[in-house]
């Protein structure tokens, strides 16, 4: 019997059991235990790392599992409990034997750090082994367009009354599928910052990888069968690249997935009744339809093989047009409707892609440059307090989870006097931006109480890369100047050189904010808070290390030269709405493409924000972009009638970018950038015709309420190239609860050539 036949026989037997619903009771995990909170100022945890092999492959197994983890409450971080949380763990290769076990402690670590190199092939066996019984609302349970399909929270308001409402804040009562919280145990992986295929086994966030099914206590598909199939997938991928069609997958795996999906459709419970899933919510018919059309099926059960290249750009070669930028990237769960919750649970990890940048840094520092990988997170069991009606204390001032680093609050990074370290910082928080504000000696019992940074820092920093793309040396001088202000928005990464000179303990004080301005929910700046401690101790480094000089700064890759205006083929404008769920006036729509671009073209987009209280962080997958202009109508200059940059609400001619605030060429590359907030002005006029004519294009009136609002949107201008990869992927707000609630668009890059001729 061949392995695939054997697997099929095994599966057939298993499915008989599924059909009969012979499901063994799973042993339930312990309830949360209120525990003493872990002490602050423990050493920073180094997250286990999976490195590439010498043959140019990053081979890893990543498992999505659940278990007891210790979390702190918020805002009271002195209340802690061990409780069920989803988390990622992993090991190198595909055989757990011989790989170090994942740390068994209860600290809420991010997933393994992956380290690849430009030009590598990434091969990841992904397994979703969540036990759905440990989480409410774990599976989709309703039809698109309905509110009942959204996660429901029943809240008691008195000893005898309760109210049921959908997840979301008070403005979310109209949430409907798919733009609401739902299906939180289904997942996938987004490889944030990669320039690779968005399709099939690549950075495909349109996949839904369901939890494995459990039969007699055994997971299906079983691990051995999956690994056998994935070995074939990876071997084919190494020789022919990622598959284009589902029919290129091993036949046994196609059958396994079909059988499991059909079993799911037959047996899953819907509104408390097993086996009653409406036809419109069944998964196999959707897959069958996609396969028949030559499309990649979106629904998978239990396991999925990711395989994609990290293309290396070579001077003079026609392809790829752009390469993968070496730098600090990351990966995280990205299933629409549960991205925020899953990232809040901690389903994130760092993806380091090395290249010439790393080689030249190491060469300059003679291999003495120690790296610290720092994953900032906001860990919790709800993506926002407002999703929990019992603690809805009013938007947007409700407390948010504390900022942790690698699973600990206020961890200690150790440095030696005279040492320079490379800190690869990933903001993996689902919500907040983090401004690195200042270092101060740790002498008082109230660290970070100074409202303003001191004149000089006892520990200095210089930024050398943004969002996984190194700075040009010109920007290293400016953006990367010593102790230059740095705001790390959600999903942003920053590579920092950190220089310690004198022994002592120091606090890194940060300001949490809404992505672009140091402004909290009340409009006033949040006070600084402590992110981590640096303990400078031990023998002096002699001679002391210093920041890399300009002359030795890593060579800037040619494919990242500025995109000239002459290359721009098309311009377009996107408007992120005043609420938290629309772009261009619409929420995300299944089966609808919002933007279509032609392969190998460059475009210039103006990305606007109508919200006046938060800078929606704009993120687009697959291709990075450059910011070439910015309009910020809420800066002090814009509010000062005596300033040349004054934005006069009564005169649209003054709504112009302030010259002193404009990015300068060469431009920095980003993959996530906060859109400046706009202004909203309530007008005395009651209907549009009665409002000032020259303002009317910027006014929206509510006839029912008799109110009119003037919008002066903030905006930035970006340039980007849609090169190397066709396919469908997304752009969205990286305040992930906004993405889940519909602030996302499906976009498509189409070929610029055709096999058709016309003679």
């Amino acid at each position: 019997m061949t392995p695939s036949n054997a697997a099929r026989v095994t599966l057939a037997l298993v499915l008989v059991a599924i059909s009969a619903l012979v499901l063994a009771p799973a042993a339930r995990a312990a309830n949360p235990q209120i525990v003493t909170c872990p002490p602050l100022q423990q050493n920073l945890i180094t997250i286990p790392e999976i490195k590439r092999s010498s043959d140019g492959k990053l081979r890893a197994t990543i498992e999505l599992v659940d278990g007891m983890r210790t979390l702190w409450d918020y805002p009271n971080t002195n209340r802690c409990a061990t409780q069920h949380l989803r988390y990622l763990r992993g090991y190198a290769g595909f055989d757990p034997a011989g790989s170090p076990a994942w740390p068994s402690g209860q600290e809420p670590l991010p997933g393994p750090t992956l380290r690849a190199r430009v030009g590598d092939l990434v091969e990841i066996a992904f397994f979703n082994d969540i036990d759905t019984q440990n989480f409410q609302n774990a599976l989709d349970k309703g039809a698109v367009g309905t509110t009942a399909a959204c996660d429901q929270y029943t809240t008691s308001t008195s000893a005898s009354q309760s109210a049921t409402g959908p997840a979301g804040n008070s403005a979310g009562a109209n949430d409907t599928m798919p733009n609401c919280l739902h299906g939180s145990s289904t997942s996938n992986l987004h490889f944030h910052g990669t320039h690779t295929t968005p399709s099939t086994t690549g950075d495909d966030v349109l996949l839904f990888v369901r939890p494995s099914m459990r039969v007699d206590g055994q997971r299906q598909p079983n691990r051995a069968e999956a690994n056998l199939a994935f070995a074939e997938v990876f071997d084919r991928c190494e020789h022919h690249g990622p598959p284009h069609l589902w029919s290129e997958m091993p036949e046994s795996w196609q059958e396994t997935q079909k059988d499991l999906l059909q079993s799911y459709d037959r047996t899953v419970a819907y509104q408390g009744q097993p086996g009653t899933l409406p036809a419109s919510s069944q998964l196999w018919p959707a897959n069958a339809s996609a396969i028949a059309q030559g499309l990649w099926p979106q629904y998978q059960v239990g396991a999925f093989p990711y395989c994609f290249p990290l293309p290396e750009w070579k001077q003079g070669s026609p392809t790829p047009r752009m390469g993968q930028a070496p730098g600090t990237h990351w990966y995280h769960a990205h299933k629409h409707g549960s991205t925020a919750l899953n990232v809040a649970n901690g389903l994130t990890g760092t993806l380091i892609i090395e290249g010439q940048y790393d080689d030249q840094l190491r060469a300059y520092y003679k291999n003495k440059l120690k790296e610290q990988v720092l994953m900032i997170q906001q860990l919790g069991t709800a993506p926002f307090p407002l999703t929990n009606p019992a603690v809805n204390q009013g938007a947007p001032g409700a407390p948010r989870p504390a900022l942790s680093v690698n699973g600990r609050l206020d961890p200690v990074v150790t440095m030696a006097p005279g040492e320079v370290q490379l800190w690869r910082i990933v903001n993996g928080a689902f919500r907040d931006a983090v401004e690195l504000y200042y270092f101060e000696p740790q002498s008082s019992s109230t660290p970070c109480s100074a409202a303003q940074p001191p004149a000089s820092f006892p520990i200095q920093w210089r930024q050398i890369a943004q969002d996984g793309v190194q700075l040009r040396v010109e920007n290293y001088r400016a953006v990367g100047a010593v102790d230059a202000a740095l705001n790390i928005g959600p999903a942003n990464r920053a590579d920092m050189l950190i220089k310690a000179t004198t022994a002592g303990k120091y606090s890194l004080c940060v300001v949490r904010n809404d992505a672009l301005f140091t402004q909290g929910s009340t409009g006033a700046p949040d006070p600084p808070s402590l992110l981590l401690t640096v303990n400078v101790t031990g023998m002096n480094i002699d001679p002391p290390m210093d920041f890399i000089p300009d002359a030795d700064f890593p060579t800037f890759p040619g494919f990242l030269d500025d995109i000239p205006a002459s290359e721009i083929k098309l311009t377009r404008t996107l408007v992120f709405g005043a609420g938290n769920s629309t772009i261009d006036g619409k929420s995300f729509m299944d089966h609808h493409v919002d933007q279509t671009m032609q392969l190998n073209s460059a475009e210039e987009w103006t990305v606007m924000n109508q919200a006046d209280d938060k800078s929606h962080p704009f993120h687009i997958h697959i291709n990075p972009f450059q910011i070439t202009g910015i309009f910020q109508p809420n800066t002090p200059e814009a509010k000062d009638p005596n300033n040349p940059c004054y934005v006069n609400p009564n005169d649209p001619a003054t709504w112009k970018p302030c010259p002193s605030q404009q990015p300068q060429a060469p431009f920095v590359w980003w993959d996530t950038f906060p859109i400046p907030t706009g202004q909203q002005i309530q007008l005395p006029c009651k209907k549009l015709a009665d409002c000032e004519p020259k303002l009317q294009p910027y006014i929206t009136c509510n006839a029912a309420r008799g109110t009119c609002t003037e919008y002066i949107p903030g905006w930035f201008k970006l340039r980007t190239r849609f090169v190397d990869f066709t396919g469908q992927y997304v752009l969205h707000c990286h305040i992930l609860i906004h993405e889940d609630r519909g602030m996302m668009q499906l976009i498509q890059v189409v070929p610029d050539t055709t096999p058709l001729g016309h003679h």
Binding site: L21, L23, P25, A26, R28, A29, N31, P32, I34, L71, D73, Y74, R79, A81, Q83, H84, T132, Q133, N134, F135, Q136, N137, A138, D151, Q152, Y153, T154, T155, S156, T157, S158, A159, S160, S162, T164, A269, Q271, G272, Q273, P274, G380, T381, A382, P385, N388, P389, A390, V391
Partner: protein
């Protein structure tokens, strides 16, 4: 907020019926979440015991299918509530104490 508390509805081999595990949930605070996981072979529907009967939709909108979890219940007031299976009002009871 918030921690997530679980009550497992478990088949009770001794009695042939079912039981809540734990039968008395303590340590809960306002804003936490409570989820029932049904490990039994039949559906259950925890409802609030009141002087006039069982309020079946107090904690959740639907019954819990076998081997499924419920949605989340979020206590908004402190005190102790007693629940029973709305589908079996004479069955075992459980309590939740909210600090």
């Amino acid at each position: 907020m918030s921690f997530v508390w679980n009550v497992t509805i478990r088949k009770d081999a001794k009695s042939g019926g079912y039981a809540y595990d734990p039968p008395a949930l303590t340590g809960v605070e306002i804003g936490d979440q409570i989820v029932w996981a049904n490990d039994d072979e039949v559906a259950h529907w925890p409802g609030l015991v009141t002087p006039t009967g069982v309020n079946d939709t107090y904690f959740m909108a639907y019954q819990i299918a076998p081997h499924e979890p419920s949605g989340a219940f979020v206590p908004g007031v402190s005190g102790t509530v007693t629940y029973v299976d709305s589908l079996d009002p004479q069955g075992p009871t459980g309590t939740i104490a909210v600090d």
